[in-house]
Symmetry: C2
């Protein structure tokens, strides 16, 4: 008999019919003998409706009062799901974030969870009830209602699982797991049985948007086994856990992530003196532009070239700033390119395998794809290439790292 926290997002509870389906699923787990805590989001569209209503009063809504309004979305869903369970003969009770004292800081609209009082939930579970908790919300130490910010229901699920020392936190979504890469690009991409928290973080931040990054960090920190599953299809999904030494027979690379939302900027012929990186990126940061990859080459005639990437929406703004910097520094040139894509291979296996990067470069060279930038971390190698080669590159890497093979049997 396991204790499982199940989280269902806005689409999974978007209609009365879907809430009934979720209740059926929860009932099956309950009947299998598991203790169940369910975390739900607002019905899809509801949060936006409430924000629109607030903005009609105040274009920049007061943060505290916005949370008072927006938190009602989940409160409606918990009541509906609890009723759908009770109707099926499954004893159930619903709680708002405040009622189970999900204590947060007072950063309205983007609060962080500090602690959870698990006493009430444990009592209900002991008495055989399914506990339905509103995601995305809490209270601060003054009893003010707070929300965790968009996507925060995942974080609620993980935090509850950590507080209750649950056996698993199941995140139900509209995909049946985490894939080696986007199946729209590589039709024979396959679902991963398992992936580590670290890999998941690199995959997620690189564009495979399945889970909210914060919840994965949180799960990793408290070692909460996280499982991504499809809300309405059967299947084991993908389990996200700590790096499991026993099963180190895993492949070197777990997946290929990619991103075409970035643009590249280069400043050439900059005097190679200490502090040059700050002189270039300081003004960019001051303009509230986030920088992703940064590459600086070795100097040449006491000058150097400096390249970085930003979100494509920030490109023009960043280029304007960079041109001013170039003038001020008497640099040779500031230029940029939006027709780029970033492709990354991710896997904890590369820690213990040499030559992973060169195997990647070889695979790209075979397809005559030129690499414009390279950046590496412990479990990831990213390259920037011309955008038109993106699909070709992803497919070549998927094959080169033997991800096309039929799903291996896990565990």
């Amino acid at each position: 008999m396991a204790l499982i926290v199940q989280k269902f997002g806005g689409t999974s509870v978007g209609t009365v019919e879907r809430i009934e389906q979720v209740a059926e699923k929860v009932k099956r787990f309950r009947e299998a003998g598991d203790d169940i805590v369910v975390v739900v989001s607002a019905m899809s569209g509801e949060t936006n409706r409430l924000i629109d209503l607030a903005k009609q009063i105040m274009p920049q809504p007061n943060p505290r009062e916005l949370d008072v309004m927006v938190s009602t979305g989940e409160q409606v869903t918990i009541g509906m799901l609890a009723m759908a369970l009770i109707k099926r003969g499954v004893p159930a009770v619903s709680y708002t974030g405040g009622q189970v004292r999900i204590l947060t800081d007072s950063a309205f609209n983007k609060a962080r969870i500090l602690s959870i009082d698990d006493q009430r939930i444990r009592t209900d579970l002991k008495e055989g009830r399914v506990v339905v908790v509103a995601g995305f919300q809490g209270v601060d130490d003054q009893g003010n209602i707070t929300t965790l910010g968009r996507g925060g229901s995942d974080t609620t699920g993980v935090a509850l699982a950590a507080a209750l020392k649950a056996d698993e936190c199941q995140i139900y979504t509209d995909v049946d797991g985490v894939y080696t890469t986007d199946p729209r690009v590589v039709p024979h991409a396959r679902r991963l049985e398992k992936i580590t928290f670290e890999e998941m973080l690199e995959m997620a931040s690189l564009g495979s948007k399945v889970l909210q990054i914060r919840s994965v960090e949180f799960a990793g920190k408290y070692n909460v086994p996280l499982r991504v599953l499809h809300s309405f299809k059967e299947g084991p999904g993908t389990l996200i856990t700590l790096d499991d030494e026993e099963s180190m027979e895993q492949p070197i690379i777990s997946g290929i992530a990619f991103n075409r939302d970035e643009a590249k900027l280069t400043i050439r012929g900059v005097p190679d003196t200490p502090g040059v990186a700050f002189k270039i990126l300081g003004p960019i940061s001051a303009a509230n532009i986030e920088v992703d990859m940064i590459v600086q080459n070795v100097s040449n005639d006491n000058t150097t070239d400096f390249t970085f990437t930003v979100h494509r929406n920030d490109y023009q703004n960043a280029l304007d700033v960079l041109k001013q910097t170039a003038d001020a520094m008497s640099a040779r040139e500031a230029s940029g390119d939006t027709k780029i894509a970033k492709v990354s291979i991710v896997g904890v296996g590369m820690r213990s395998h040499a030559g992973v990067a060169s195997r990647m470069f070889e695979a790209l060279a075979k397809e005559s794809i030129n690499i414009q930038m390279i950046s590496t971390s412990e479990i990831k190698v990213s390259v920037v290439i011309e955008e038109k080669y993106l699909e070709l590159a992803v497919r070549a890497l998927h094959t080169a790292f033997e991800l096309d093979a039929p799903a291996r049997v896990s565990e």
Copy 2:
């Protein structure tokens, strides 16, 4: 500088524009130097929307979970009104029933207020904030969300005013006060400056639906001066207070109430023995039918006639039950009539004035209106007449008791 509790119902906060108007009104009071606590209902239609949603899941919604859902209606409004005030430079803060600990019993959907912790509100008022509280809701001693039942926002307003010892509880509605009778029947009916709690109770229960009866009882019990005002028109409204000995120059009758929702049932030739009333009304009550007026005449040849009124919707059902009773008791006849109306004169003045009832009967006799039933209380005389004479009777009584005169200057 007074402390005023202002309650705005669902129609008064039914749109963004109306919420802005309410904020303007509150701002004007605040600028005049008063401390203000505002109680609001859900935007009109919202409570029904939430109940419908619950019924889609469970035709007989689970009472606890229904309250979880329905209480969100007011929670949205408090956030909106607080923002509308803040936008106008009026410091404001919103609270749910639970946040200011409006403690109730655990009778979900129809809870009763036990106590209110006024500490938090007092602190806010001291610091210059307008406090916006969600009406209609509270929490029980387990922290479960409860609602007070339909119209409960009036009760929240009065309870808050009592707890805070407010100078006045203002109930904003879609009428500009309490009238001597329905202006649709008597065009020169006039607004009362003042009325006592007792009179208001008799007027309300007899069909002049301005305030929720429970809130008037509550206000009377705690002696909270209650004022009925129009949400969007200027004017002093009607003040409802304790019987004020000083101003006993008041007229004998304050108003004429009437009701055409009732039907009359009679059982004739019943043996006049002890317990006969119970034998007749027991089965009616067992069928969940509420009885209003009851009249039993003196006996005649050891048999008596027994007449009572019920809501017109219950008429057929009541008649069926009564016919069975008549058979069982060997009564002469059970019959009924739906074409009746009840007209009542209400006023604390009749306590100290003899002959009020006969003046009423005289006025009706002058118009050749036959009286079918009579029932009296300390501050009220009600008669049942044929329905078609209703308007004529109300107008005749309005004139006979000198209610047509131009409004007297009060206070």
